[in-house]
């Protein structure tokens, strides 16, 4: 393999559409991006999906016999299934055979495997998922935590805010990102105990602008939205559901009368183009911040396109030195 190219370890067996879509995406990534890939999983299932089998340029297969399923307890799976495709991918980064990993399987187990194999950044108690949220007509926002750490302390939310702000500089290209705390009202006193206790800690974080509400997601105004993993995941799924309902509504109207169907011939291609920004496969996955290494989590039903984009994000995290930047930001407090 070319030593100058970034190598990304990809869990080939993780995700609803594994291994076919994962391997296809990994292969496309070697052609579309300046990366090599290490595919972890059952070699006899992976090799036939590659043009030259195990000899395909830019691709290394690491055989792993076990698979972590979506319903397994994350920490236990990451500890006990040492010969799983997921743990092998994290292990490849630990051993220096890859500089980053990508996984589309069990999110909690991916976090646990990355944490146990790569370790944590000193000063960060728990990792968090930083997910770019599309903003139509504007630059994306960053939601952190998107579901990594369900039960949080106020101190952890402050850590998430600092990591999210630094990551936004790199991923969103914002010099001085603003930070908001997701709550049920904009006033400082709003929220449950966690948010009330976190607020004064967040006031010490540069760029903090106070509470934001769910309706501020996808509408810009604040660059980084901080919350616990439980609320963050509920917010994400709520947005997905609302968007799906809105799409169904629009296409229902466009199919409602002969005149609407005529108009749809013009409008539909434009709508589909515009809606591409909302496609989860186009966002490139979510970075797991707080790990002493690069780990990108793609969604469970990832297509080949999603894997290409997740691999691109992983490679960019390596080349831009995200982990070192997060360490510096954490040390600076």
């Amino acid at each position: 393999m070319n030593a100058e190219r970034v190598t990304v370890a990809i869990d080939a067996m993780g995700g609803d559409r594994a291994p076919d879509e994962i391997v296809a995406g990994a292969l496309q990534a070697t052609e579309a991006i300046d990366v090599d890939v290490v595919l972890t999983g059952r070699a006899e299932e992976i090799a036939p999906l590659l043009p030259d089998g195990a000899d395909t340029p830019g691709v290394t297969i690491v055989d792993a016999r076990e698979i972590v399923t979506m319903d397994e307890e994350p920490a236990a799976a990451a500890r006990t299934k040492k010969d799983s495709s997921l743990v092998r991918a994290a292990q490849a980064v630990k051993e220096g055979r890859a500089q980053a990993m990508v996984g589309a399987g069990n999110t909690g187990a991916t976090m646990a495997a990355a944490l146990l194999r790569m370790g944590r950044i000193r000063g960060i108690a728990r990792p968090a998922i930083a997910l770019p949220i599309p903003v139509p007509g504007g630059r994306p926002q960053l939601l952190i935590d998107g579901g990594s750490t369900v039960d949080c302390t106020p101190e952890w939310l402050a850590q998430f805010a600092r990591m999210g702000r630094e990551y936004a500089r790199t991923r969103l290209g914002v010099d001085e990102p603003t930070v908001g705390l997701l709550s049920n009202g904009e006033e400082p006193g709003k929220g449950d105990e966690l948010r009330k206790e976190a607020f004064p800690l967040l006031e010490k974080v540069d760029g903090f602008v106070g509470n934001v509400e769910g309706r501020d997601l996808m509408h810009g105004g604040v660059d980084v939205v901080v919350t616990d993993g439980f609320t963050g995941n509920v917010a994400l799924k709520s947005m997905e559901g609302a968007l799906r309902a809105a799409v169904n509504l629009v296409f229902g109207v466009l199919d409602s009368t002969p005149e609407a169907r005529e108009a749809a011939k013009v409008i539909t291609p434009l709508l589909l183009d515009a809606a591409d920004v909302l496609d989860p496969d186009s966002t490139g996955g979510a970075a797991l911040l707080g790990i002493d290494g690069v780990c990108v989590i793609s969604h469970g039903s990832s297509s080949a396109r999603a894997i290409v984009n997740a691999t691109r994000v992983a490679a960019e995290c390596v080349t831009t030195g995200v982990v070192e930047r997060l360490k510096e930001a954490t040390r600076a407090g």
Binding site: E73, P74, A75, A76, A78, R79, T80, A112, L115, L116, R120, G123, I124, A125, D151, T153, E155
Partner: protein, 100 residues
């Protein structure tokens, strides 16, 4: 007392095990070591979740496995370890059986 000639084989006592556990837990949980006492409960007093406990287990296996061949922690036993004292007693016993 004769000079120790097999340092790597000498089993650790409760005080040394406690010191290691306190240090590792403080690192994992990002808390002050002073918060970790023998009577601390993992869940209520230290807010240590299952992932934190597994981090601790792997850290102990790495560190103690280097000086005591065969030392390991059985995952099935983790549910019984409610306090730091439980963990210290358990680790001391496992070290003794590994060296025994």
């Amino acid at each position: 007392m004769p000079a120790e000639t097999h340092v790597e084989r000498s089993p650790l006592g409760p005080d040394e095990v406690l010191a290691i556990i306190r240090e590792r837990l403080a690192e994992i949980l990002e808390i002050d070591e002073d918060r970790v006492t023998l009577d601390s409960t993992f869940s209520e007093d230290l807010d240590a979740d299952s992932l934190a406990l597994i981090e601790l287990v792997e850290a102990l296996e790495d560190e103690l496995g280097e000086r005591t061949v065969g030392f390991s922690i059985d995952d099935d036993d983790l549910a019984d370890l409610k306090t730091v004292r439980d963990a210290v007693d358990y680790v001391v016993a496992r070290l003794a059986s590994a060296t025994g």
